[in-house]
Symmetry: C3
């Protein structure tokens, strides 16, 4: 259950503090996620060199790790950054893009979870299921499972890793293994824009940077994605205008809009 | 000559099967091409690590190779992915971005063609001419030749490589060396959006994934680019809105629109 | 003081000559900067492999270096490209993204300035201040200082490096250490789009490619950013539409628009 006043307060905190979010993410979505973080009010930085990731993670308010276009040197830097962040109690948000699609991806996901101790793991249903079952074969980076089918795995992964686990889909589930929140996003259109899941992960970094309650922070991020996505979808002819309108809605998100769209 | 019913059927097949298209492409266009593939109904994945490209190419329905921002490690991965795909009869679509601009680029293009055995090669006139003549110096990645001047070279390259060769320009030519198709795109405005050629190559991957007739698949891809591009151009004030409208048109492309724009 | 006729003439030169601008830039902004260069009329190429950067820089009319997502191999290629360009009297434009954020970034900036001898250095106030004072700690890539506070440092850096130094902000300052130009950009909204500074640097490359007066070229670039940015902001609901409108305005920039917006 979202407490609307908490969500509004979190957005105000992001806008007033403009927390630095260090992203080690994939080439496809770097631009989108930087713009989404700026639109919500955070300050993104993208840096992946082994020569600076520890320094950058050390001054950040959250670290976002996304393996969309992973390779060996990037994984090494991710581990260094993640260890630095978790040693300094800086929240680490992990997006296991394409987990299950290749053995390499699945193995890297397990290594990152073990070494970087993420506060939040966010993926689609297929990815979360692959984290719970190394034998699962997924198809690329788009989900082939429903969120409902993945919820039990998500709870198990949450309990095992002590991370909050988020399954994105038409219904988002956010769980720490014991308590589970739901956010409904009725429109499947968002899944046809590349990187919307990655954007959700980055936005989770912004909320986790200013709210120590990780279950609430992740739930707030999903709620914001849902509201901005729903309004933007209603104004859009296709996935081109949807991307433009989505950023505009993130910029303009205010208390009134939130109250209108979350009915309790 | 495009058979309209075949084109409509191909689009329906892409939308119903959502074929996985594995892209090893350049940093500049990754986002655009992923979004264009999603808009037409395919499922894109971008992966370039030597540790997973063979696995990813092996589960894909087409492999798209684009050397826009090439470097040594990427070329090695391209060769591994391309050999895996062609050994598994998965169509390889190759975009020789900037062929002729530097000796390195031209040499890499020849290696990729020899080792990966592409089903379709798509470039602008300068690039295709550089494939036929190693001595040609082109200027960066924008064409300095007309499509008409390159058609004889395209036929020769097609016969020599057994690939279908596509020259993009105000008129697109699609040839297997014996049969040549033409698609007219009257508006030069599209050339002022970065990566439109790369998008054409990626869309060719989507059609080749579901249509084994490579000449027809490539012709369909060029036709779709032309129709969506023409409608989008008519609605746009500049290259910013053109990109947005282009994706929207790809999303909304239906049988009626196709019949209206292809007169036979 | 901008001479309006000179600015209009420069834009006409860019559009008629379409100079090749070689960019070694960061992953986040490659697409934006390529599209901005195409919109103003230049021909962008992105290439970073050590195997071709000297060849590419050698045929370019300007080289744009941006360290946003730097790493060791890229820095090596930057140095080779920069030395080639400056040895061939091709203007080098340098964007010290995030200077001061990590010791590695600041050290690389100093190396690039020493080895590549940039004609123009463009950054935000924090970055320019970090170039003048190695001890300064900045926060990520967004400025935490005002342009006014950085102007004396900018003059000192200009005199020391013999580069024209540009500080972007609500007021842009362009200085060679002796003469200083100002361009006012009243709207802080542009700072919430990622890569607008990087775009300003790339556009500076287009002007420097056709105008040997580097102080004037850099001033013209800032003026064009300001005009297109102001008009686009007036038409936009948020940072999504701002990006679209900004590219459209660059495409449509003409003598009338310029005369209307620059009052002397």
């Amino acid at each position: 259950m979202i407490q609307i006043d908490h969500l509004i307060q979190d957005i105000e905190l992001i806008r007033s503090q403009s927390p630095l979010i260090h992203n080690i993410t994939n080439y496809v979505v770097m631009n989108n996620t930087a713009n989404a973080l700026l639109a919500i009010g955070a300050s993104p930085v993208m840096a992946h060199s082994i020569d600076e990731v520890a320094d950058m993670a050390g001054i950040a308010s959250a670290l976002v790790i996304n393996i969309g276009t992973l390779e060996k040197a990037w994984v090494e830097a991710i581990i260094v950054a993640g260890k630095t962040a978790s040693a300094n109690h800086i929240p680490v948000i992990f997006d296991p893009v394409g987990a299950g699609a290749t053995p390499y991806r699945t193995a890297v996901c397990r290594q990152i979870i073990a070494d970087c101790k993420p506060s939040v793991i966010r993926g689609n249903a297929s990815e979360i299921m692959a984290l719970g079952d190394t034998g699962l074969q997924t198809k690329g980076v788009d989900s082939t499972s429903s969120s409902d089918a993945a919820i039990e795995t998500a709870k198990a992964v949450a309990l095992q890793t002590r991370a909050v686990v988020v399954i994105s889909g038409q219904t988002d589930y956010i769980t720490d293994g014991q308590q589970t929140e739901k956010v409904r996003n009725d429109d499947p259109f968002m899944a046809r824009v590349t990187g919307m899941g990655c954007t959700a992960t980055a936005i989770t970094g912004a909320f986790a940077a200013i709210n120590p309650d990780r279950l609430e922070a992740a739930t707030h991020a999903m709620a914001v994605m849902g509201i901005a996505g729903k309004i933007a979808t209603g104004k859009s002819r296709g996935t081109g205008s949807l991307q433009v309108n989505f950023l505009d809605e993130l910029c303009n998100l205010d208390a009134n809009t939130i109250r209108t769209h979350i009915k309790q």
